[in-house]
């Protein structure tokens, strides 16, 4: 492996070398091969349909995220009086009771991360669709962050599940899930699917040399 090669230097991609790479096991095959003979994954050099999948998941995710914030996430029945808490409301109640770090974790996982994720996925998709020529590495890091952190938003659903199962003290106090729980879980799943539909290889395609006729020295290195 060329450890010393700088980023500015032109790197040959599998696509440019007339090959198709397997994103599951990193093996390469002649372009046009349908499935990876090593791991069985479907091979696509650049998934042209991936952008419409990204936007479709993104949009249904957003549709679910709005009711998730409007309706109560959980309902507490205390001595026959029932009150509902939305995601933001629940976090504020926590912080008013002194549990400021925990309230912040909930706000971060359920509000800041999902919203940042909607913006980040939209930015990544648009940057690829308009072939933004710069900042490949930064966009790549952003994509990795989105993939890594998106799952953690599910935490609030688990909090509600545990509270509902645990806090059942007869007529004194009990907790029930609110209708927002379903919407919120779906929003997290759909945004995860949106991020996973994104083909990060497309971020780097704007680096491709436009003139295909130009002799490519580095290609010889691989195929001679």
């Amino acid at each position: 492996m060329d450890e010393h090669s700088a980023v500015s230097e032109h790197v040959v991609t599998a696509k440019e070398a007339g090959l198709v790479s397997c994103t599951h096991c990193a093996r390469v095959w002649p372009i046009g091969t349908a499935a990876c003979a090593r791991c069985g994954a479907r091979l696509v050099s650049r998934d042209e349909k991936s952008m419409s999948r990204v936007w479709a998941w993104w949009f249904v995710g957003l549709l679910c995220y709005i009711p998730a914030n409007v309706f109560p996430m959980l309902q507490t029945t205390f001595l026959a009086r029932t009150s509902g808490d939305t995601i933001v409301g629940g976090a504020i109640v926590l912080m008013m009771h002194g549990a400021i770090p925990v309230g912040l974790v909930i706000l971060l996982a359920s509000v800041v991360i999902p919203i940042a994720k909607f913006i980040a996925v939209a930015y990544l998709a648009l940057s690829v669709q308009f072939r933004l020529p710069s900042d490949q590495l930064r966009r790549m890091k952003l994509y990795e962050l989105v993939e890594f952190i998106g799952r953690w938003s599910m935490i609030d659903v688990f909090v509600v599940a545990v509270l509902t199962a645990l806090v059942q003290l007869s007529v004194v106090v009990s907790i029930q899930p609110g209708s927002a729980a379903v919407a919120f879980a779906l929003a997290v799943v759909f945004t995860m699917l949106a991020a996973r539909s994104f083909d990060s290889r497309m971020i780097w395609d704007s680096l491709e040399t436009p003139a295909e006729a130009e002799p490519d020295d580095s290609r010889k290195d691989f195929l001679s």
């Binding site: 492996m1 096991c25 925990v102 890091k141 001679s224």
Partner: protein, 215 residues
């Protein structure tokens, strides 16, 4: 340019960065070192001696921890003479009592089924390899599936969720942590260690070579 045959043989020596498609000649780095894509900084190869044995051992540990956690007390609360206790299964299924069966199934899948399925798939894919035998039929599909399921295995997020829930409850009741809670904490640690040893590229080439040498 050489003949097509040479190119075909050459393809096995190449590795394409799964994240940015950059093409490199695969060279196995020293044990414990990592080959990183210079362009996008994705880790391509990170071999560890005895990785297959460790990954299988961790998968067995995950399986044992998860299954035994099912049968142990998880959490219980007590306030003003009233008490209530819950198991992992109760917590996972709690939505089903409130007309949210779909969500219940989803939660059970994320914290129990997917982690168990991943562990079984990894053991199935790598067990013969660990004994230097030819991999079983379907081993490659099993390993690919286990990797595809990875983001949907959310036991570690569940543990953090339990922590947050406990803070909420602590104000109104006394909480007792059961054995299943600690098994889940151990599960998170084991999962993190397993991911550290899992070099996908090494395992894929081991599966490929295992089929060739013994087949």
């Amino acid at each position: 340019m050489s003949s097509m045959q040479n190119i075909q043989a050459d393809l096995e020596q190449l590795i394409a960065c799964p994240a940015c498609d950059a093409l490199y000649r695969a060279a196995l780095p020293e044990n414990g070192e990592r080959a990183v894509c210079p362009r996008c900084h994705t880790v391509l190869i990170a071999p560890v001696d005895g990785a297959v044995i460790r990954v299988v051992a961790f998968a067995v540990a995950i399986l044992i921890l998860l299954v035994s956690a099912m049968f142990m007390p998880f959490l219980s609360i007590e306030a003003g003479g009233l008490s209530h206790s819950t198991s992992i299964a109760d917590a996972a299924l709690s939505f089903s009592e409130y007309h949210m069966l779909g969500l219940s199934i989803g939660v059970v899948a994320l914290i129990i089924f997917v982690p168990i399925a991943r562990a079984i798939l990894v053991i199935f894919a790598l067990f013969p390899l660990m004994l230097d035998k030819k991999p079983w039929r379907g081993a490659r599909t099993a390993f690919r599936l286990s990797e595809e399921l990875r983001p949907w295995s959310m036991a570690e997020i569940f543990v953090l969720g339990v922590g947050v829930a406990l803070v909420k409850v602590a104000a109104m009741a006394h909480v007792e942590l059961g054995m299943a809670f600690w098994l889940f904490v151990a599960l998170v640690l084991v999962t993190v260690f397993q991911d550290g040893f899992l070099c996908r590229w090494s395992i894929w080439s081991a599966l490929e070579q295992g089929d060739r040498q013994n087949g």
